[in-house]
Structures are given as structure tokens and as C-alpha cells.
Amino acid sequence: MKKVITGDHAVAIGAKLCRVEVVPAFPITPQTLIIEHIADFVNDGELDAKFLTMESEHSVMSAAAAASAAGARVFTATSSQGLAFMHEMLYATAPLRLPVVMANASRTLGGPPGIWCEYNDSMGARDSGWLQLYVEDNQEALDMVIQSFRIAEDKRVLLPVMPCLDGFVLTHTVEPVDVPEQAEVDSFLLPYEPDIILDPKRPAMIGTFMPSEYIMELRRQTAGAFESAKEVIQQINSEFAQKFGRDYGGLIDTYMMEDASTALITMGTVTSTAREVVDELRQKGEKVGIIKLRFFRPFPSYELKKAVSYINALGVFDRSISYHGGGPVYNEVRSSLFGMKIPVINHLAGIGGRDVTTKQIMKMFELTQKAANGEKVSDVYWHNTRGETV
């Protein structure tokens, strides 16, 4: 059924369709609509879940971890300062292999404070053990909540998943969304049946004190689960595409990459704008393409290498800065492409929610093409920034 809804609403409906059992919640802009919609579902009897109004995000993730350890399917949502506040608990959920799903409404992490889109909130959680993905529109937001639970609860993975949607650009913007039928989702996502939980009938100790003699094996296992996750993500993407007719490409998606000589790596909603630019440049005969980076963790190094193997230069869009010169995505991409003789140019834009226009993306392609032609360009560009040249 088609509905015209905000991204937050789409995420909430996605969670409802997954029959989530426990939802600890705390408000933060621009995520709040998600938990408000879920509260409505619960109080209207549309969703049979325990909705917990916690007193902070730290307690949200604590309750989420405990509820998951007790065997429930757990969903929550957060953003920015909230994600930072629960940071400690992100590190508890992942190694304890608790498949919580939490939507993150991407928002600048202060100070100075702001409420608009930036990725510096979730990028800081890069090494917490959470899978991270970034969606482009409200449909993908809904669909990826459903896929996230499948990925998280897969026995080969058993890790928490964080679908991120651009603050305001998606969270508060209405778009037509095809809402799947409950029965369809039920056949795609079966009830969560974990092996080890907090159950007096089969007592287990979860989160014991771990001396150095044992911790490395545990870390190694978690790292192994990230490797397995790559295959699982692709499988679930295909299965979802078959069932619901929407194929997102898995770890990455590509546009016009078959014969591209210059490409731009994008994330989130900027991808849509970049598609417009690619169409325009293609009409002028320029062989440009886009790689939409969907998952940041696990990082699709292999898929990227494959996708760029025939191109002459690569631009990388970053919506946050890592204070080592460029953005975190740029860093990962360069590391992944080490040994390949492709110039990689970093394009910082849209930070703090600043609009990313077609004009800027045009400029990104222009600069990247210069690099492809062997012209001298900088490694990193700050687009649409006072005092900068581009």
C-alpha cells in the first residue's frame, strides 16, 4: 500500500512490521518522530510491544542490551548527542552479540550545537562493532529496517545494526512509500529465536569479566562476524529484491558505472542529487558514474575495488571531517584502494546540514576529472565553504 510519509514515519512502520518486542526510547531531534509513532502504535494496540520511556540515551541502550540478552527483539532510535551519550553501551551490545536494531537520524554532533544533517555522529561509532548503513530515501529507510533485523539476527552475524537516515532531508520530508503487507514481512522475517539468553531454565552468564587470556579470541570472533556479514548482506538483499521487488545492491549500489571513467562515491540523500548530475553530464557525453556507499561497516573494500577497476579517477563525498585532513570515508576508500593507481579526491560538503546542490556535485566531478586527466589537484576540497576556492 502506498503511503505519503516522512522518513521517521517509514522507519517506525518498518519496526512495527518487524513485530519488535521491546522499544526503549528517549527523544532527540530529528529522530523523535520515530519513537512518537511507535508510542502511537503501542497505545493504539497496533503493535504488541513494551515501550519504555527511559531517562536518557545511555539508559536506552542499556535497556536495549538487557532486553535483547533476555531474548526480545529490540528496536530503538537516536541521533547525534544521543548516540554520543550511549557510546559506551554501543561497545557492550556488539561484542555480547546482541542483535539490536537502532535507527540513527544523522545529525551534527556539537558543539557548537546544531540539529541538521552531518555524519560525524555515527562515524564516531565506527569501531563500536555495529553494522552501519546509510539510506537514500524513505522507501529505503523502511525496507532497511526490515533487512537490518534479518542481518542482525542471522546466526552468522549476530551483531547490532544501525540504519542511518539523513536528518530532516529524510526524517521530516514526506515521500510516497510502498508499505509492505504484514504477512509478506512475516514470511521474510521469522520470530527471533536466540540460542543463549538470560533464562533461569538454562542459566547463562553474559558479560563476564574477561581476562587477557581470552579476550583476543572474542574480538577475533566479532571481526569474523563482520566478514560473514558481507555475504549475508548480499544474500538478504537478493532475497528482499525477489520478494518485494526492490534491489538496493547490497553493500554498495552503482549508477552508470559500466563504462564510467570518472566516479563519485556518495552516501545517503546526496546520491539522488548526484544521479541528476550524472544524467546531465552523460548527455554531454561525459563518462561519469556513481558508487553509492550503502554500508560503512562492514566496509565493502572488495566491492569498491571491483567497481573502480576501470576508472581513471575517483571522488569521495564526505559529510563529516576526521581532522586528519579529509573525511572518514575518504580515509577508508584510500586504504581499500591501496596499490591501485587511481587518484582519489576528497569532497567535503553538506556538513552541519548545508545544502549539497547539483552545482557543487558538478564541481566535484569537474575536479575529479581534472585528476583523471593528470592535472594537478588537491587531495581534499571543502565545497561551498567561505574562504575556500571551490
Binding site: E21, V22, P24, D48, A49, K50, L52, T53, M54, E55, S56, H58, S59, V60, S62, A63, A64, A65, A66, A67, S68, A69, A70, G71, A72, V74, E88, M89, A92, L96, I197, L198, D199, P200, P203, A204, M205, I206, G207, T208, F209, M210, P211, Y214
Partner: protein, 320 residues
């Protein structure tokens, strides 16, 4: 009501853990779980109890155990209880948090669970300092006590603040049940644990748990120290059920706080003046707890000659 003879000996918190001899925390946990029984799930935040009871690959718990962090006992109990309720499981969710994990870093999380009146049992094991990290002052540390962050220096000696009144803070949430306990008073202890187990909603048990290295005391004297604490008024045994407060054990005659202090190295440096200040605080507390309506003060607040210092402390305690 369950009697000592009827207490289960299922060894749900088994021997072989690595707590210090005479550890008040281990004794409290062991006896509480004997009353709580098998259908219990435990949360322990960062504390000695995680180290001495769960260091991988060993574990002293024969009931399910969960641990993640320091400041989140209330929230973790709420989360697991929500899951149990959703799944239709009849389980008692029990947290064993220390004084640091309750008075200080975990206060917010505890308050959240209390305010929501979530159906969980929160137990605070109060050994009056951060013992697991090596004896640092917490909001539960008594006046005068030495800790590594309130050292006995040339200018400042020991903790200069009085123990935080956690009982009133917890009770202000208007929860069904709050009680203070001591392992020196086992009948009272068992009765309160059993009562808390059977009440629905947020229950809080506040256990007084001596720490051998932290209090610098004889490991054979754990029980004696808790008894002396109650006799001197440093600890009071009472319960608040649905807003009604009741003293559950009233000592016959008030013993001098000095008797209590001298059993422990952490107080041994205290000046006569500081002891008097503490005695004054204890007297006030004693009167608040034990004085009956219309009756004269039970404990006479000592008068001081050194007016200046006393006025300072007096202002801290009573306001300007």
C-alpha cells in the same frame, strides 16, 4: 515467612569465588540469593562482584547473570524485565549495585527505573566507597573516613562531607518498598528480602556491607561491625512500605560512635573534634529515626567549644 532453617542451600552463588575473607558484599549476595531462589536473573554493574564472581572462565552464579557497564543497573533491570513480561516469564530481575554505582554514577538510571515503578528489585550493597578501584570516596562515604581520594593530609584529614541520605532520595520516588538491611541482623535481613521479592513494582534493598581492605578492619569482625553500626546509629534498620516508615530494629541504648569508629582503620586518624562532629550528625539522625512524637530528644547533641569550625559544619548540615 521463611525461616533460616528453611532457606534453600542450592548454592546459587557458590563457593570458590575470589572475594576477600569477610567480604560483606559476598555475604549479602549469598544470603539474599538463598531467599530469592532459582527464578532470578541478576544484573551486576562494574564492581568487585563482577570480578570476584564472574572472571572468565569461572563463574559463581548458578542463576542467569548479566553485566555491561557501571551506571546502568536501573535501566538494565527495566530492559530485561520488559522482555520477561513480553515473553510471559515469571522471573525476578535483581540488581546488585555498589554505593558508587547507586549514590553517584548510577543515580539517574536508578531514579528512572524507580520513577517508572518498573517491577524490579534493586539492591544497593553499600560499602561506603569505590572499593573495586581501590578505595575512593563516593557519595556514600561517611564523614571523616580515609579513602585514597580523601587522604589524611597535613591540612585536610579524611572525607569532609556527611554520608548522602540515599534512603530519602529513593523513598521520594514513592515506590512500594524501600528497606535497609544488615547481615548482622539475619532475621530482619531474610524477612526484608522475602518481602521485597513478593512485592510488585520497584523495590529497593539497601544493604550495609563492610569492606575488609577498604575499612581496614579485622576480617573476622564483619558481622560485629554491622551490629555496632546499628547500635551507634551509623546505620538504621527500617523499611518504608507504600510511604509508611517503620523502624524494624531499635537498639536498646545508643552506643558512642567512637566505639564503632575504633574498630576500623579508616577512622583511626580522626581528631576528637571530628569525632564530635560525626557524633552530632549521628545524634540528629538518631533523633529523626527513633524519637517518638512529643517525647524528649533521645540523643543529646553535644555542644562544642570551637565555635568557628562547628558553625561551618552546622551550616552545611542545617543550612544558614
Amino acid at each position: 515467612m521463611i525461616t533460616i532453617k528453611e532457606l534453600s542451600d542450592d548454592n546459587l552463588f557458590t563457593a570458590g569465588h575470589t572475594a576477600c575473607p569477610g567480604c560483606g558484599v559476598a555475604m549479602s549476595i549469598r544470603n539474599a540469593i538463598r531467599v530469592l531462589g532459582k527464578d532470578t536473573v541478576i544484573y551486576v554493574p562494574a564492581s568487585c562482584a563482577v570480578v570476584f564472581g564472574t572472571t572468565f572462565p569461572y563463574g559463581a552464579w548458578k542463576v542467569p547473570f548479566f553485566h555491561t557497564a557501571f551506571e546502568n543497573t536501573g535501566a538494565c533491570l527495566s530492559g530485561m524485565q520488559a522482555a520477561f513480561e513480553k515473553k510471559g516469564k515469571k522471573v525476578t530481575a535483581v540488581g546488585f549495585a555498589g554505593d558508587g554505582g547507586t549514590y553517584d554514577i548510577g543515580l539517574q538510571s536508578m531514579s528512572g527505573a524507580a520513577e517508572r515503578n518498573d517491577d524490579v528489585l534493586y539492591i544497593c550493597l553499600d560499602n561506603e566507597a569505590y572499593m573495586n578501584t581501590g578505595i575512593q570516596r563516593s557519595g556514600g562515604t561517611p564523614f571523616g573516613a580515609w579513602t585514597t581520594t580523601t587522604p589524611v593530609g597535613k591540612v585536610i584529614q579524611g572525607n569532609r562531607r556527611f554520608k548522602k541520605n540515599l534512603g530519602d532520595i529513593v523513598a521520594a520516588h514513592e515506590i512500594p518498598y524501600y528497606a535497609t538491611l544488615s547481615i548482622g541482623h539475619p532475621l530482619d535481613f531474610i524477612r526484608k528480602v522475602e518481602k521485597a521479592k513478593n512485592i510488585r513494582g520497584f523495590r529497593f534493598l539497601h544493604m550495609f556491607t563492610p569492606c575488609i581492605p577498604g575499612w581496614k578492619m579485622d576480617p573476622a569482625k564483619t558481622v560485629e561491625v554491622t551490629k555496632r553500626a546499628v547500635e551507634s546509629g551509623m546505620w538504621t534498620l527500617y523499611e518504608i512500605e507504600n510511604g509508611e516508615k517503620r523502624i524494624t530494629h531499635k537498639p536498646g541504648k545508643m552506643k558512642s560512635v567512637k566505639d564503632y569508629l575504633m574498630m576500623q582503620g579508616r577512622f583511626r586518624h580522626m581528631s576528637e573534634e571530628d569525632i564530635k562532629k560525626l557524633q552530632m550528625w549521628v545524634c540528629r539522625k538518631w533523633n529523626l529515626h527513633y524519637k517518638e512524637k512529643g517525647a524528649p530528644e533521645v540523643c543529646e547533641i553535644p555542644q562544642f567549644e570551637e565555635h568557628h569550625a562547628v558553625t561551618e559544619e552546622h551550616r552545611e548540615m542545617h543550612g544558614p
